[in-house]
């Protein structure tokens, strides 16, 4: 949607229909009128429309996000900046952030995902950190539909194409499939960076006289009417005016930009930095100015452009990728320009910081915008949208499966291994460079990735967890369980959970049921984080994930960073179980609740009932015991999650190439996904260690079987259900890949 600079003049004011086309409501437009005391000029309206979009202003979510715990002694920067930063000791800080690029990836999967990677990287190196790892969390519709296969392949290729070329390893991820994501895939990407404390840079404009230098790619008509505006509209709207001009990622430019920016920080040549993402230049001048309590002059004629004839509004809204705004003391300007030239990137001095708090934009020699910086940012609208529990929750909870007889366990397990949701994701992660930088001690294919921090004895663990089905059945319980699961996932590679970032993917916030799901989710996440003493240091909200009125499952994704202080003995890995080892189950007493389980979904096509709540006391005990067992040198530890104990055992067996026999009393125990449980492979000599650690922490530990043979077998009082390991492995290995050819 191009805003025509010539159409409404100052005197006549803008046509109300223009503001609606730009996604502003009549109330919001009235608010602009009263802020300015006059009709907005077109360029001003463009700036308000992008800055006040849901995507940039968080206007529907902000009141709820305040609920999160955000402080801890190790938090250096909490939510609000481009990324959260925590102190990991030995003179290092870690920066972490997660972002969604759902809508652009639906429009063009390769470029949508690629530019999502580019965007999250900029959030990290804007803070002064070198990005060292990426992680992706993806959701698609079922692979039996050609369109979903196209989206899935395109997104994975886009992440690979950008991440590999820019030179940041993608060390893991998760992929889920459900009908609800058919017309609305989710593409969430997390990035981790490392920095020295003195390199920390904030997105502030600095004092009066600081110059604004635009670095990187030339500005074109990319994404105008794209991410920020489009993110507030639904996919079904195919009117040409809303069709975005797809942004194309350029990982080569980004790589040069990373190296240039890191050199600027190292040499202390910048006061502050802001990346250009959604809302482009509008955001890059107003946010840093507002943070600094200053104003800004911006001369659009000095912006280096890709196409001639762009209007002021287009220049202000453009979402061209691979651009950064550096705020530089005039004395350092020459050095900054020299770095840019040597690194082979373009640089233009486009503005300077002024006192008084106004953003003044000129174009073609004329003043085209004059607005208070804070009116675009801190004073953006804030909504307390109506919310209400959906009428169908009670019905959903009552809708449970009545099992008449015990199902065939081996057949059910094989059926589960054959589902893309549970099958091997090696087709995905073998397309990602996951080894660059020589830090990846535990890579994709495990519960969490574990990266060493070279020059120290430390390690960082990374994971995400999301489960839309569970959160649909009970958003609060589901969300809390995700936090505990993510914490347990970093614990099984020996790490102490340190910080959370969250990506909240939801439907239309104007529907009270969706807002209720959202509020419940935030409550669940907050309660769980509080009970573990883990701060939320950043996140992202993606609303309007609906198509034709159908909302996606409420899908919070929890990203967790964990710290290992002493990377001593080899970290536990799924593939280190061996013939003769015992199989232990650590966790609360068996449960038979199958609500929301993969078993019910896959074998009965059923989604209903109410999932069990988390138990914070058990959660803490499970997390602490997993971590202690990992540092005690237990070879293989694996949490029980989607698919239950049966699947978790099978995963250890397939990875290690050895069978196992597991004793059980009630078949439902094998498929139940209740939280805070994990499996351990231990030599008979390690039995004492397992028992005493579990004992000390007050968590039950039971030896439920042993490894050996060529079958995955489940034994109930001598009656055995067995699945051939090789058949299981082949099935699991092909579950995704074979559906794509």
């Amino acid at each position: 949607m191009n805003v025509d600079d010539d159409a409404p003049t100052d005197e006549e004011g803008s046509e109300p229909s223009v503001h609606r086309l730009l996604g502003l409501t009549d109330e919001e437009y009235a608010r602009i009128l009263s802020t300015l005391g006059r009709d907005p000029r077109p360029a001003e309206l463009a700036m308000y429309s992008v800055m006040w979009s849901e995507h940039c202003s968080y206007k529907s979510s902000r009141v709820h996000l305040r609920r999160f715990p955000t402080t801890a002694p190790w938090v250096v920067v909490g939510p609000g900046e481009n990324a959260g930063v925590v102190d990991i000791g030995d003179g290092w800080l870690a920066a972490l952030r997660i972002e969604s690029h759902n809508h652009p990836s639906f429009v063009e999967p390769y470029q949508g995902a690629a530019t999502g990677v580019g965007g999250i990287l900029r959030d990290i190196f804007t803070m002064g950190a070198r990005p060292i790892a990426l992680w992706d969390s993806l959701r698609f519709g079922p692979l039996d539909q050609a369109r979903n296969r196209y989206l899935f392949k395109g997104v994975v290729a886009g992440i690979a194409g950008y991440g590999n070329a820019v030179g940041v390893p993608t060390v893991g991820g998760e992929v889920g499939f459900a009908e609800h994501y058919s017309a609305n895939p989710l593409v969430n990407v997390m990035c981790l960076g490392l920095l020295r404390p003195e390199q920390l840079v904030l997105a502030t404009a600095g004092p009066e006289g600081t110059v604004a230098v635009l670095l990187g790619a030339a500005t074109g008509r990319d994404g105008i009417g794209g991410a920020s505006v489009l993110a507030s509209a639904s996919f079904e709207d195919e009117s040409p005016s809303k069709r975005p001009s797809v942004q194309v990622g350029d990982p080569f430019e980004e790589k040069k930009l990373i190296e240039a920016c890191l050199e600027l920080y190292e040499r202390n040549l910048v006061v502050g930095v802001q990346d250009l993402g959604a809302a482009g230049l509008s955001c890059a001048v107003s946010e840093p100015a507002a943070r600094a309590g200053m104003g800004m002059e911006l001369d659009l004629d000095r912006v280096h452009v890709r196409e001639p004839g762009m209007t002021a509004a287009e220049l202000l809204m453009s979402e061209s990728q691979e651009r950064m705004m550096a705020f530089v003391h005039p004395d350092h300007l020459d050095e900054v320009l020299e770095v840019a030239e040597r690194r082979e990137i373009l640089a233009s001095v486009v503005g300077k910081v002024i006192s008084g708090g106004q953003v003044l934009v000129s174009h073609a020699g004329e003043l085209v915008a004059e607005v208070p910086a804070v009116s675009l940012t801190d004073e953006a609208p804030l909504y307390e949208r109506p919310l209400g529990e959906p009428g169908w929750m009670e019905d959903l909870w009552a809708n449970t499966v009545k099992f008449m007889a015990q199902p065939a366990i081996a057949t059910s397990l094989l059926q589960m291994l054959n589902e893309p949701e549970l099958g091997s994701k090696s087709w995905v992660y073998e397309q990602y460079d996951h080894m660059l930088f020589l830090n990846t001690v535990v890579g994709p294919g495990h519960d969490a990735a574990l990266l060493r921090v070279k020059g120290t004895s430390r390690g960082l663990a990374l994971t995400t967890d999301g489960n839309g089905r569970l959160c649909y059945l009970d958003p609060r319980r589901g969300a809390a369980r995700l936090v505990f699961e993510a914490a347990l996932n970093v614990a099984v590679v020996g790490a102490e959970p340190l910080a959370v970032v969250d990506n909240l993917n939801f439907g239309n916030p104007e529907k009270p049921e969706v807002m209720w799901q959202f509020r419940e989710t935030v409550e669940g996440l907050a309660e769980a984080c509080e009970s573990l003493g883990i701060p939320v240091i950043g996140g992202n909200v993606s609303f309007y994930n609906e198509t034709d009125g159908l909302d996606i499952y409420p899908t919070p994704v929890v990203g967790m960073l964990g710290l290992v202080e002493n990377l001593g003995s080899p970290a536990p890995r799924l593939d280190r179980a061996e013939e003769g080892m015992d199989l232990w189950l650590i966790g609360p007493e068996w449960s038979i609740n199958l609500a929301g389980s993969a078993f019910e979904k896959i074998t009965f096509a059923h989604v209903g009932g109410r999932p069990s709540p988390a138990d914070p006391t058990m959660a803490r005990a499970a997390i602490a015991s997993a971590r202690l067992l990992a540092s005690a040198g237990l070879p293989a530890i694996h949490d029980v999650s989607t698919g239950g104990t049966a699947l978790a055992v099978a995963e250890m067996c397939m990875a290690s190439g050895v069978g196992a026999t597991v004793a059980y009393s009630d078949w439902r125990h094998l498929f139940c996904e209740d939280p805070h449980r994990f499996l351990v492979a231990a030599t008979p000599e390690q039995a004492r260690t397992v028992e005493s650690i579990a004992d000390d922490l007050g968590i039950p530990a039971a030896r439920i079987g042993s490894f050996g043979g060529t079958e995955i077998a489940f034994d109930r009082r001598g009656v055995k259900a067995a699945l051939d390991l090789e058949m299981a492995t082949t099935t699991w290995q092909n579950a995704v890949e074979a559906r794509l050819v």
Binding site: E108, A217, D250
Partner: protein, 81 residues
């Protein structure tokens, strides 16, 4: 029947590859290069068909698989019988 398909990225869509190649050509002394855009061509050999239906079929292939309508346009040209 030989058919040539030219797939052209729409002009408003950025072409980073082109930008990089312009820079490289200029450094090699080809200062006259103002712009470069990368496209793809696909040469298809088809069994037993006539020019008219070949044209239609290949256009259909473009719409269904060969071109990405979000960012590309295409042109089909029947080369020889």
């Amino acid at each position: 029947m030989r058919v040539k398909v030219e797939i052209v990225r729409r002009p408003e869509i950025a072409d980073p590859q082109g930008v990089t190649v312009v820079r490289a050509l200029r450094e090699l002394g080809f200062g006259e290069v103002a712009e470069a855009r990368f496209n793809r061509t696909i040469v298809l050999d088809l069994h037993g068909t006539d020019p008219v239906s070949a044209q239609a079929r290949v256009e259909e292939m473009c719409r269904r698989l060969l071109a990405n309508p979000v960012i590309e346009d295409f042109e089909v040209q029947v080369l020889e019988p």
